[in-house]
């Protein structure tokens, strides 16, 4: 019924996508050159010309005028996520995201839907460990109205008890639907807890039901005052806009906002890094759930943060392993050996640390060994493929294929104002600047076999830090 956040590529349920789709920004390709050369050749990628502005109150503004587009993307990215959930309030940052669609000083509840959906646009929002992102797309002539509304809720959100109670129920329903009702939801939800060492990253973004139920209106007011402020936000506008006109509107509606005197706590305080749990010996953990039609496993290795130099090579390694039907894991485990129903490998690189995840769902019975040995066999086969990639030959054709896949995916994301804003926002918050989206893509295209093998040696040479086995619980 509903589209997953990103189309789940392999698994029956993983709401996250392989490798890189939607990530990187990619500029236009000079057409003559594209037609003259095979695309596997290195491409000269002119950078997108992002316009940057910072208001006196600290608000960062990025815009990309695009002549001829019918709609405009207006996004506000806040540097607050589940890592900032108050003590005893896991899931609060995400619950708060929902509350941002309630009333303000001058807007009634759900006014954002009136300003977007009702005029042919749309809105959405999401929360991750590091950030909370609000996205709107409207006909271009409605741009100023959205700027007004985003400034309103940044400064003057007003939530009452009835709204809090009702939206809390929606979030609990969301958790029940996506974590409890989805056969693989519990496995997915458990990954951060096992894969990260920083306590702030180990909590599930969706939170625990008792913590959600404990949230009060004063929590809401405190959280808004603390994190929703111009100097903790990035405004992104992409579409058919006039740069000078936009600057004027931004000043009119966001200029008067005041940043609190107390400095924003930008990012996760480095001090919390010291709370990271010490690495332990490799663990195997078994998780059970009432409905697991096919057993599954997830393997996790610690990895560097998103801005690390090794990130592009890790992305390419993950793509070689699992991007597409011709990828190594798919070809060996799903096609040749027929021991996996689906496989995947991806990098989960956050602002302060990351993890590498490989997963597989076992095939159904059909006369094969039972669940216990099936998962052991699956883990061994998966690790064998990682080892082969680390030590064995990687052909030029294979690397070229993956580069072309990643480039094409990035180009697909460039088709919409929304896609371009997403790529720039992520680069601005995690990689140090919107221009880093282009730079990252160029680095991705430059990754060679030696670099892939070097990062595999560095991060995936040993056994996974945690092997999570997932299967049906014994019936009562």
């Amino acid at each position: 019924m509903f589209p997953p956040p990103c189309s789940a590529p392999t698994g029956p349920c993983w709401g996250r996508r392989h490798a890189l789709c939607g990530l990187a920004a990619l500029p236009l390709w000079p057409l003559a050159q594209a037609q003259a050369e095979p695309p596997a050749a290195a491409l000269a990628l002119p950078a997108l010309a992002w316009l940057s502005q910072r208001l006196d109150n600290g608000l960062q503004v990025l815009s990309l005028p695009q002549r001829g587009s019918s709609s405009v993307a207006v996004q506000v990215w806040y540097r607050v996520g589940s890592r900032d959930d108050p003590p005893g309030r896991s899931g609060f940052a995400h619950l708060f995201e929902h509350l941002m669609f309630k009333g303000t000083r001058h807007m009634g509840d759900e006014m954002f839907d009136r300003l977007t959906e009702d005029v042919g646009g749309q809105n959405n929002a999401y929360t991750t460990e590091d950030m909370t992102v609000f996205q709107n797309e409207v006909p271009a002539h409605h741009l100023e109205r959205l700027l007004w509304a985003e400034a309103e809720r940044m400064a003057h959100l007003r939530v009452d008890q009835a709204s809090l109670d009702s939206e809390r129920q929606v979030v609990i329903e969301e958790m029940r639907e996506r974590v409890l009702a989805d056969p693989y939801g519990r496995l997915f939800n458990a990954l951060p807890q096992h894969g990260f060492s920083l306590p702030a990253y180990r909590r599930p973004v969706i939170g625990l039901q008792q913590d959600l139920e404990a949230a009060t209106l004063s929590d809401v007011q405190r959280f808004h005052a603390r994190h929703y402020r111009p100097d903790n936000a990035l405004l992104l506008v992409v579409g058919d806009v006039d740069a000078a006109q936009l600057r004027q509107w931004v000043l009119r509606w966001f200029g008067p906002l005041r940043a609190p005197a107390r400095p924003a706590e930008l990012g996760l305080a480095a001090a919390t890094d010291r709370q990271a749990s010490a690495p332990t010996a490799p663990q195997r953990i078994t998780l059970t759930a009432p409905q697991v039609p096919l057993p599954a496993l997830a393997l996790m290795w610690p990895a560097p943060p998103a801005s690390h130099d090794d990130a592009p090579a890790l992305e390419v390694a993950a793509a070689l392993l699992s991007l597409g039907d011709a990828s190594r894991l798919n070809e060996a485990l799903v096609y040749r050996d027929q021991i996996a129903q689906s496989v995947g490998c991806w990098t989960e690189l956050l602002a302060r640390q990351g993890m590498l995840v490989a997963h597989a769902v076992a095939v159904g019975g059909r006369g094969r060994p039972g669940a216990q040995s099936a998962l052991g066999q699956l883990e061994a086969a998966l690790l064998q493929q990682v080892r082969q990639l680390r030590q064995g030959p990687v052909t030029t054709a294979e690397l070229a294929r993956v580069r072309t896949q990643l480039l094409t995916a990035a180009l697909l994301a460039r088709q919409t104002a929304h896609g371009m804003a997403q790529a720039a926002g992520r680069a601005a918050l995690l990689l140090g600047g919107a221009d880093q989206a282009d730079a990252y893509l160029a680095r991705l295209q430059a990754v060679d076999a030696a670099q892939v093998q070097r990062v595999l040696q560095r991060y995936m040479a040993g056994p996974p830090a945690v092997s999570l086995y997932y299967r049906q619980q014994a019936s009562a």
Binding site: T128, H142, L407
Partner: protein
């Protein structure tokens, strides 16, 4: 990007299945939306207590569609859109599961699946691995699929890769191996998928609802696990030989391409295509009008899945049929009526169930129009204790729309929302190709597309009410007109006493047999 763990948390419903309209070459979509916001805009823009007025409307022009035909009858549709060096290619056939041989559901779908799993290329038989490597070396992801009255192959690649990608697609379409080992693999994968389906309250409710509405034939036929096990290679080969033919096919190319290049490529790769067998006289599918399969009374089915934390609540009613066969041409009215009721986040179902009461993460509906008839269906997930209330709220909203016309402002907002989502779909080359392909599959004249958008905007409140009254109104599931049918799947017994007094067919998963006429397993 590694999908954020809770991305898309305010989920929205996509109107993909219902899409089918486009604005003409004038500022239709956005101009029509002004009524919805006018009230809020009559203030000076420096007053921060009101949103500033919108700027003047900017024209929006949908790209033109060029239609050409090869001598063998194959249609070539081109939608040029210069800009990014990307082209989406689709090969479409006007045949799908409705042509499955009697007693063998799943043949059309499996044939389409196997196209990409082996083909003869330049005198050589290439298996699935070799084909996947060739496809992915071009950077694209191949989609093969089938449904009612359709089968398709699709890919999006950068412009320089188009000839090679198209050559691959054409070989798969024309010379698939349909080999026995690949059939076995695909069957095993489909059986695993079936096992996942059987564990999902949402999917089970959808399957059961389809059978309850359409009965055992027509669109109620399901490729169950038993049917999958029976599939053999021979019927797939016969299906391909009979039904994959140029006069039933179209090539759609959208993006960085001209009609001239499109025709040249089509001629070179598909011009000498001839069907392998004489056409089979079309056998009309036995049509059972929705909600009249006598063996499937009553209208409410409760499927008990113990331990399932969420219930899937689904409700169906008839809707307008395909415009090519519906004499009343009620299709745009059905589309707009659905937009008011459940076609988006702010539509009535989500307002009543999620926004006002917090009973679900989302409640949405859609309308499907097919040659044999149309179907409206609504669904929501909720905790077992709320399932009966959610079903009642759905029914109340259907009946409320049938008894009073929606206010003009509400209708204008939902029309704008509907057209906006269609327009956004055309932002990508694959969205463009998909939309043009749908028009062709349904035999909707391409030159009437602009008119269709105008007709969507022309739908009046009274027409919406009339449509709901004619198709959807139903006083009671147990003693009503038989229009509404509902399936609730989940922990029914965990729902307390809410279902105790309700007339319903109750069964457990162990008792359910989707292969049997009455849906209940033999004891």
């Amino acid at each position: 990007m590694n999908g954020p763990a809770w991305a898309g948390l305010r989920r929205r419903h996509l109107l993909g299945a219902a899409a089918g309209a486009i604005g003409p070459a004038r500022p239709l979509v956005w101009a029509a939306t002004e009524a919805a916001t006018k009230a809020a805009t009559d203030t000076k823009s420096d007053d921060s207590s009101q949103p500033p007025a919108p700027q003047p409307v900017q024209p929006w022009r949908p790209p033109p569609v060029f239609e050409q035909r090869l001598a063998n009858g194959l249609t070539v549709l081109t939608v040029p859109r210069p800009g990014l060096p990307l082209v989406s290619a689709q090969l479409l056939l006007r045949v799908g599961a409705e042509a499955d041989p009697s007693g063998q559901p799943g043949v059309a779908a499996m044939t389409a699946t196997l196209l990409a799993k082996g083909a003869r290329r330049q005198g050589q038989d290439l298996g699935a691995v070799a084909l996947a490597r060739q496809v992915e070396a071009l950077g694209g992801t191949l989609d093969s699929g089938s449904g009612w009255h359709r089968s398709s192959l699709a890919i999006t690649v950068t412009t320089p890769q188009l000839p090679a990608a198209l050559a691959l697609l054409c070989d798969m379409l024309r010379q698939p191996l349909l080999s026995a080992p690949e059939l076995d693999r695909a069957r095993a994968q489909a059986l695993d998928q079936w096992a996942l389906t059987m564990a999902s309250a949402e999917e089970l409710a959808g399957l059961l609802l389809r059978r309850v509405v359409w009965g055992p034939s027509g669109y109620g036929r399901l490729a169950t696990a038993a049917a999958l096990r029976r599939l053999t290679r021979r019927p797939l080969q016969q299906f391909h030989a009979r039904h994959y033919r140029p006069e039933q096919s179209a090539l759609v190319l959208a993006g960085d391409i001209t009609p001239r290049t499109a025709l040249r490529l089509a001629h070179g790769m598909l011009g000498d295509w001839r069907a392998a067998a004489a056409p089979t006289p079309a056998v009309p599918m036995p049509a059972l009008p929705p909600a009249h399969a006598p063996s499937l009374a009553p209208a409410l089915w409760l499927l008990h899945l113990p331990g399932n934390s969420q219930c899937a609540v689904t409700l169906a009613a008839p809707s307008a049929g395909d415009p090519s066969t519906d004499p009343d041409d009620a299709w745009p009215v059905g589309l707009v009526s659905n937009a008011v009721l459940g076609g988006g986040y702010s539509a009535r179902l989500n307002q009543a169930i999620r926004i006002r009461r917090g009973l679900s993460y989302g409640a949405f509906s859609s309308v499907q129009s097919l040659p044999l008839g149309g179907l409206f269906s609504a669904s929501a997930m909720t905790r077992p204790a709320s399932a009966a209330q959610v079903l009642q709220l759905m029914r109340d909203e259907l009946n409320r729309l049938a008894s009073s016309a929606p206010p003009a402002a509400e209708l204008a907002a939902r029309q704008a929302s509907l057209l906006g989502s269609l327009a956004r779909r055309l932002d990508t080359s694959s969205g463009l190709a998909g939309w043009v392909g749908e028009q062709w599959l349904r035999a909707r004249p391409l030159h009437q597309l602009a008119e269709q958008a105008e007709r969507i905007l022309a739908v009046s409140p009274a027409q919406v009410q009339g449509f709901a009254a004619r198709h959807w109104a139903d006083e009671g599931l147990d003693a009503g007109t038989g229009r509404q049918r509902a399936v609730v799947a989940g922990d029914i017994l965990g729902g307390g006493t809410a279902w105790d007094t309700v007339a319903a067919r109750r069964l457990s998963l162990a008792e359910l047999d989707l292969n049997r006429l009455g849906l209940v397993a033999a004891r």
